[in-house]
C-alpha cells in the first residue's frame, strides 16, 4: 500500500512540474475544449436561425422575361436585385462566391409560360456551401409557391376546383421536446467530455511508461524489491488523478460556456447546471480508470515518447467509436447498451441532458462494466511489466 502511494505521489509531483503535462491537462483540454464547443454551437445555431426572421435577398437575372414572378417575389418581401447576366456568368459568380444564389430566367420563358408549357427557371446555387444552403432552400420554396399559385389559377380558369391538385395534405407533428431538440446539437458535447478526459491522461500515461524507458530510469526501478503490480498501479492511479481533475475543470467550464450559448433562440433548453455537471462527473468517474489502464497498457509496449504518442492517438479513437456509431444510428438508451463502456456514459449523459429518467440500475451496470474492463486491463499491464521484455 505504501509502495502504491509512493509511486503515485512521485508520478503526480513529477508531472505537476512538467509544463507540457500541465498545459495539456489543465489548460488545453478542460478550457479550450468547452470554449471551442461553445463557439461552434453558437455558430451552428446562428445558421439555423437565419430562416424566417431575416430578409431574403435574391439576385434575379432576366427579370424582364418574368415580370409576374418578380412581382410575386417582391410581394413576398424578398429583396430582388435585378441584373443582366447569362447563365454561364451566373454560374461563375456563384462559384466565386460573389453572389450566394442567382435565379436565371431564360428568354424562352415568356412564350412557354404563355402556352402553359413548363417554363424553365434556373436556380444557380452551391450546395456544398453550408452558408448559402439556407438561402437556396428558401428561394426554391418561393419558386415552388409561385408555381402552385399559378397552377391553381390555371385550374380555376378552366373551371376545375384547385383542391383536386392537392391530393395529400401533409402536417408535420414534431414530438421533440425543447431539450430533446437541443440534444441533436449538444450530442457531441459528451464526445468532447470523454475525448478530453482521455487527452488529459495521455501525457502521464506516456511519461510513466515509455518516458521512463526513454530516459533510462526504468531498469533501476525494475531492480527494486517492489512488486511490479504496485508500480503499475501507482502509475495508473496518478494518471487517474489527472484525468479526474481535468474532468472536473472541463465540466465547470461547460457550465459557464452554456450560459453564453443562445439555445433559447430556437426554443431549446439545455439542462446543464451544477447538479447536472455533478451527475456527469459521477457517470464518467468509472470510465477514468478504464481509460488510464488502457493508455498505460498500450504505452507500456512502446519504446519512445514519439512511438507512444503515435499509438495512443489511435487508441484515443477507440473509446470514441461507439459514440460515433450511436450518433449515426441514433441509438436510443437501452439497458443492454450499458455494458459497453464509453457508449453507456454517452447515453446516460444524453439522457440527463434530455431530461429523461435515468434508472439507477443503468448507472450501476455502466459503472460495473467499465470497472471490470479496467481491472482486466490493469491485470494485463501488470503481467506485461513482469516480463523480461519490459526492459527493452
Amino acid at each position: 500500500m505504501r509502495t502504491l502511494f509512493t509511486v503515485f505521489a512521485k508520478e503526480f509531483l513529477d508531472n505537476l512540474r512538467d509544463r507540457r503535462t500541465l498545459i495539456s491537462a489543465l489548460m488545453f483540454g478542460p478550457l479550450f475544449g468547452p470554449l471551442l464547443f461553445g463557439v461552434m454551437v453558437t455558430q451552428m445555431l446562428k445558421q439555423n436561425v437565419v430562416e424566417s426572421d431575416e430578409l431574403l435577398q435574391l439576385t434575379v437575372a432576366g427579370s424582364v422575361n418574368a415580370p409576374g414572378l418578380t412581382r410575386f417575389l417582391e410581394a413576398q418581401n424578398v429583396k430582388v436585385t435585378k441584373v443582366e447576366m447569362s447563365q454561364a456568368a451566373a454560374r461563375d459568380a456563384v462559384r466565386r462566391g460573389t453572389v450566394p444564389v442567382v435565379i436565371v430566367i431564360p428568354e424562352d420563358y415568356p412564350t412557354l409560360f404563355a402556352s402553359s408549357a413548363p417554363a424553365p427557371v434556373f436556380l444557380v446555387a452551391d450546395s456544398a456551401d453550408s452558408t448559402t444552403r439556407k438561402t437556396a432552400d428558401r428561394a426554391r420554396r418561393m419558386l415552388a409557391a409561385y408555381g402552385s399559385t399559378i397552377a391553381q389559377l390555371r385550374l380555376q380558369v378552366r373551371g376545375v376546383n384547385p383542391e383536386v391538385a392537392v391530393p395529400v395534405a401533409v402536417n408535420d407533428v414534431d414530438v421533440a421536446t425543447p431539450a430533446g431538440r437541443a440534444v441533436v446539437v449538444l450530442g457531441f458535447m459528451t464526445y468532447f467530455v470523454l475525448f478530453a478526459l482521455l487527452m488529459e491522461g495521455l501525457y502521464l500515461a506516456i511519461d510513466s511508461t515509455a518516458g521512463e524507458r526513454e530516459r533510462g530510469s526504468l531498469e533501476a526501478l525494475l531492480s527494486l524489491p517492489v512488486a511490479r503490480a504496485y508500480l503499475v498501479g501507482g502509475k495508473i492511479l496518478a494518471t487517474c488523478a489527472y484525468m479526474a481533475i481535468s474532468l472536473g475543470l472541463s465540466l465547470t467550464a461547460f457550465v459557464f460556456v452554456f450560459r453564453f450559448v443562445p439555445l433559447e433562440r430556437i426554443g431549446m433548453s439545455a439542462n446543464l447546471g451544477w447538479g447536472t455537471a455533478l451527475a456527469f462527473f459521477g457517470i464518467c468517474l468509472p470510465f477514468i480508470p478504464l481509460g488510464a489502464a488502457l493508455m498505460t497498457l498500450v504505452a507500456s509496449f512502446t519504446r519512445t515518447y514519439r512511438e507512444a504518442q503515435t499509438y495512443l492517438t489511435t487508441v484515443l479513437l477507440v473509446p470514441t467509436l461507439p459514440i460515433a456509431f450511436a450518433s449515426i444510428y441514433s441509438l436510443k438508451t437501452k439497458s443492454s447498451l450499458m455494458f459497453i463502456p464509453s457508449l453507456s456514459q454517452h447515453l446516460l449523459m444524453t439522457s440527463i441532458l434530455k431530461d429523461d429518467a435515468v434508472p439507477l440500475v443503468d448507472v450501476l451496470v455502466s459503472a460495473a462494466a467499465s470497472l471490470t474492463l479496467a481491472t482486466l486491463l490493469f491485470w494485463l499491464t501488470a503481467r506485461h511489466w513482469r516480463r523480461e521484455s519490459m526492459l527493452g
Binding site: R215, S217, P225
Partner: protein, 252 residues
Amino acid sequence: MPTHDRGKVVIEALGLSKRFGRVEAACYVSFAARDGEITGLLGANGAGKSTCLRMLYGVLTPDSGRACIDGIDILGETSKARAHLGVMPHATGLYNNLTARENIQYFGTLHGMRAKLLKSRIAELARTLGMEEFIGRRVKGFSQGQRIKVALARALVHDPGNVVLDEPTNGLDVMAIRNLREMLLSLKAQGRCVLFSSHVMQEVAALCDRTVIIGRGRVLADATLPEIRQRSGCDSLEEAFLQVLGGTEGVS
C-alpha cells in the same frame, strides 16, 4: 552498516545460461564476488556482461543455473535478495523534474525505508559523495559527473552490502571517471562487495582485485590480475588479456 567478512563470497553466479532466440548471451557462467573486494567483469561489447549482471539482480530469468546474493536465491526470494543489493544499471536515467534528493528519496521509500532514517542516510550520502551543493536542485541540467553521483547514491540509499554496477564509466569524462573510481574504492574500504562490468581494460586493471573475463557468453578467466599475467606468460596486462581472449575479440 551490515557487517562484512573480507574475502567472503557474497555474490555467486552458478552456471547461468541465457539465450535470446539464436544468440547465446550467457553459457554456464559461474563466478563469485567477495566482500571487501572489487570484482571486474571484463569483456567486449556484446560479450554478455549485461546479461550476466541482469540475471544477478533478477530482472532477467536464466534458462538454467541460479544466482545468490548473501546466500539468498535471487529468483526464489527476489525482494529479500534485492534488499542486500544496490544496483546501478547501464542506463542511469534520473527524473529530471525532481531534485537530486527527491530522486534518492523515491528509491529509498520504495526500498521500504522510514522517513527519518532516509533523511539521515541521504545527508550522509550527500556528504560522502560530495553532493551537498546540488542535492536540493532539480536534476535537469546536471553534469554527467553530478548525475552519476545521484545515480550511485540512489543505488546505495538502503545501505546494501553489495553493489553491482553495469558499465558505470560509460559516457563519463575524465574527472567523473576519477570521481567514480574513488567512490568505488571507498565502498571497498567500507568492506562492501563491489561488482562492475566494463569493456575498458585499463579501468579494470586500475581498480579490480579480481577479474572475470567474459567472451561470447562464456567465462574465459576468473582470477586475480597477477594470476592472469602469470598464466598467460605475458608481462604486459594488455598482452595477457589478448591472450585470454584468443585475440579475436576487440577489447579496448
